[in-house]
């Protein structure tokens, strides 16, 4: 069977606001039937990219095809086939959750059973509370339900689990996985590493509006055979420390400073590497507080490729 056409094809997309490029020559594809994560820090251009796919914005340069259609010129044909979850808002201020969901259902030809969706996303707890007084997590769940209710082929969800508590995040992930099993393609933006690692078949890491790297979470974290060593020391090390450790370890490993007292060492985490690290500590009078070995995470990949972290919030979640 030939591979189906990609659900989304973005080629050389450029979107500028004022003088700065929010998206700067981005090219990527989303395979039909996959969950694809667009991962990057705040301001990386994720939402702009998503909204261009949804037809809200016209591509300034490059081309965007969604389900084979031009999202602006062929918007009317496209919209019934996609489900959209905005990063925030999207309902009347005084509407009740079930009422809003029933309304969205009535705009579609073959909607999902609203009661089932209310049950699956725990929206029953919202009762008669108007939208403006729902918690952030409840608004997120309603937004997701509104994206699903029209039984779309393709789902665009912008930061779907921001503001959700851990248990609800799990349920949401399960629901998105169930959608994939039913044949729905999902494109999600996130700055949560664990979300991308857990959920995505394919991850596109973007930063400053450019694609940094693409691959499955497995490819990105394991394919190089590399592992990581995190070294945390008791006092801030001198600025030249990373370079001198790098020199001691040689080119097979890579040393990145991730804080004034912690270093990330990527490479073969074998006995000889550990011996070099401890000898280096001894020579420089550095007292290790902790030395931990682990597999590379997407967080590490991002850090190495961009030289910066995704943000404190994301780091906390990833650890």
């Amino acid at each position: 069977m030939p591979a189906p056409a990609p659900a989304v094809e973005i080629d050389g997309l450029v979107m500028r606001y004022g003088g700065t490029a929010a998206v700067d020559g981005l090219s990527l594809t989303v395979a039909t039937g996959s969950i694809t994560a667009v991962l990057g820090p705040n301001g990386a251009g994720k939402t702009t990219t998503l909204e261009t796919c949804e037809g809200y914005r016209r591509a300034q340069e490059g081309t965007v095809r969604v389900l084979g259609l031009d999202p602006v010129r062929e918007r009317r044909a496209l919209l019934p086939r996609i489900g959209v979850m905005l990063q925030a808002g999207g309902a009347w201020s005084g509407v009740r959750a079930d009422e809003m969901l029933r309304h969205m259902a009535s705009l579609h030809a073959h909607p999902l059973d609203v009661a089932m969706l209310v049950d699956r996303l725990g929206l029953g707890e919202c009762g008669r509370t108007p939208y403006r007084r729902l918690s952030g997590g409840q608004q997120q769940r309603l937004g997701l339900a509104m994206a699903l209710v029209g039984r779309p082929e393709l789902l665009f969800v912008d930061e779907p689990t921001a503001g959700m508590d851990p248990a609800v995040r799990r349920t949401t992930w399960e629901l998105l996985e169930e959608m994939r099993d039913a044949g729905v393609t999902t494109v999600l933006t996130t700055h949560y590493m664990d979300e991308a690692e857990h959920l995505a078949d394919q991850v596109h890491v973007i930063d400053h509006g450019r694609l940094v790297v693409s691959g499955s979470p497995f490819e990105l974290t394991r394919a190089t055979g590399a592992s990581t060593i995190r070294l945390v020391v008791t006092e801030p090390f001198p600025p030249e420390a990373p370079a001198s450790l790098q020199e001691a370890l040689g080119p097979a490993t890579e040393v990145t400073a991730i804080g004034p007292q912690s270093l990330l060492i990527t490479g073969p985490a074998d006995a000889s590497t550990l011996a070099v690290v401890s000898a280096w500590c001894e020579r420089h009078g550095v007292l290790p507080e902790s030395l931990s070995l682990g597999q590379r995470t997407l967080e590490d990949v991002f850090l190495q490729l961009t030289g910066r972290e995704l943000g404190d919030e994301a780091l906390e979640t990833a650890r």
């Binding site: 009317r76 905005l86 309902a91 009347w92 201020s93 579609h108 099993d181």
Partner: protein, 267 residues
């Protein structure tokens, strides 16, 4: 349909894609129904739509009986057309502007922009809601007026003439309301829509005929509020077509619609 990658479970999954838009008219009906329901649920808007017009009618009639206001004819006969005009204005302008301002603020208009409902359907839904609320207002206000002894003197032709005035007045005020809601922040829209309503209620020759305003009465003729009031009074008192005021409403509707089309920002 997309071939499912998830094995046998895919066949029975309720989530299997089945995309499609509902028929256009069904979408418009659903939209109008929701907008009506939410408009009637909002206490502040009910105050503007019903309570203030009723107070104006009852207060005006009682005041005239005590000799506070001098009118050309029985107070209830002169005031009722003005109160109906006020009701049209309150819903088409104030309620619509405030509702739309908060729809923008809460991202509803943006979200519906990614739904199967086209922009024309959204607009038709709003028109449907405004007209429905106006029918409710008319029923209540006419009942109150009849209870106060109102006897409309325009004959049978008064009804279509009043409806024409209501439609043109709704077009003028709704386009101005959407212009306001589409260009300002929701809070500013709320304040200005209420303020303009009060200013026109007092000084806009909507409730009372322009002759009650002395020398400035002639100048007021260009206001949409005075034009709507004049058109209603001509229809329901004399049974005549007020060509000048209706033309003023058409001009306001064209100006408002042109500006709103150009300047309305969805986000």
């Amino acid at each position: 349909m997309t071939p499912a990658s998830g094995g046998p479970g895919a066949v029975t999954s309720p989530f299997s894609p089945a995309p499609g838009a509902a028929p256009y008219l069904r979408q418009v009906r659903a939209q109008a129904r929701m907008e009506t329901r939410l408009m009637l649920r909002n206490g502040e808007q009910l105050l503007v739509a019903l309570v203030i017009p009723i107070l104006a009618l009852v207060g005006g009639v009682v005041g005239a009986e005590r000799g506070g206001i001098e009118l050309d004819g029985r107070a209830v006969d002169v005031l009722t057309p003005g109160v109906l005009a006020l009701a049209v204005m309150s819903t088409a302008f104030t309620s619509l502007a405030i509702a739309t301002g908060f729809e923008r603020r809460y991202g509803l208009i943006k979200r519906l922009g990614a739904s199967p409902l086209p922009r024309s359907g959204l607009l038709l839904g709003k028109i449907g809601a405004v007209l429905t609320v106006q029918v409710v207002q008319a029923v209540v206000l006419v009942a109150v007026a009849l209870a106060l002894g109102w006897s409309p003197s325009g004959g049978w032709v008064a009804l279509p003439l009043a409806l024409l005035a209501a439609v043109l007045g709704t077009a003028a005020f709704a386009s101005l309301g959407l212009l306001l809601a589409g260009t300002l922040r929701a809070e500013a829209t709320l304040a200005i829509a209420n303020l303009v309503y009060l200013l026109l209620l007092v000084g806009g020759a909507v409730l009372l005929p322009r002759s009650s305003y002395g020398g400035v009465g002639e100048l007021l003729a260009v206001l949409p509020s005075a034009a709507l009031g004049d058109a209603f009074r001509a229809a329901l008192v004399d049974g005549s077509l007020a060509a000048g005021p209706l033309l003023v409403l058409v001009v306001w509707a064209l100006l408002g619609a042109t500006a709103a089309t150009r300047l309305f920002r969805w986000e």
